[in-house]
Symmetry: C2
Subunit: 117 residues, 2 copies
Amino acid sequence: MEDAIRCVCVETHPDAIRRANETLPEDEALNDLAELFKLFGDTTRIKILYALLDAELCVCDIAQLLGLTQSAISHQLRLLKAGKLVKFRREGKSVFYSLADGHVRSILGQGMEHMGE
Amino acid sequence: MEDAIRCVCVETHPDAIRRANETLPEDEALNDLAELFKLFGDTTRIKILYALLDAELCVCDIAQLLGLTQSAISHQLRLLKAGKLVKFRREGKSVFYSLADGHVRSILGQGMEHMGE
DNA sequence: ATAACAAATGAACAGTTGTTCATATGTTAT
DNA sequence: ATAACATATGAACAACTGTTCATTTGTTAT
């Protein structure tokens, strides 16, 4: 009555399952990790991150660069900010965004490397 | 009549925009990159990849390990296969999956590192 | 205080995604 | 050939996501 049968198969490799189960990180960590990568999983956000590889840009610059509305960019920057992928500083009316840390660079790099195959 | 006004702002930092525009990879590459990261952006798929870090597992093993149906896992493996994140070999009735290459490891690692902050 | 501009936010809508259910394909043993 | 099991696939549906439009907040200059 607890949890239904999810797999029709008879248990095939219980040892491997047990070992995998032991080394698998906690659900919360894996959920957070998925949330992090979700941020990289959208064209607009990838473009924003790439644009910020070289330069610090304000919201309006990014909007023009990518041909999207200021609103769309702002919404995406909010997500990137929440995931600590970008940081920002205010200067007068403008807000300048830049990459938060080196991990963003290396994740993008590893991704690009993977594709060249 | 060509493309509408996307940004209300007056052009603020044309030099920065021009430079960013020059170094920005092609749309196709950035789309592919986003598609790649999209694969990492789901809890089930992240769990599958993590489980395969240590061991080669068959579809049924993974289903039991994660408490999901065989069908759900199979669908996800199809996506991971298409993105070349996992490889597989058939052995009798079972199909064993494993990680395709080292990039998967390092991308997961970089992601985990980023979160420990 | 008011006007002008930059950025942020909320609601809404179309498009996408992940799971389930039912079924098909593939493999092995009888 | 048939039965039994492992995997793959297709359709369908609920949940989620990204953009737009309208509006608000924040900053600077007059």
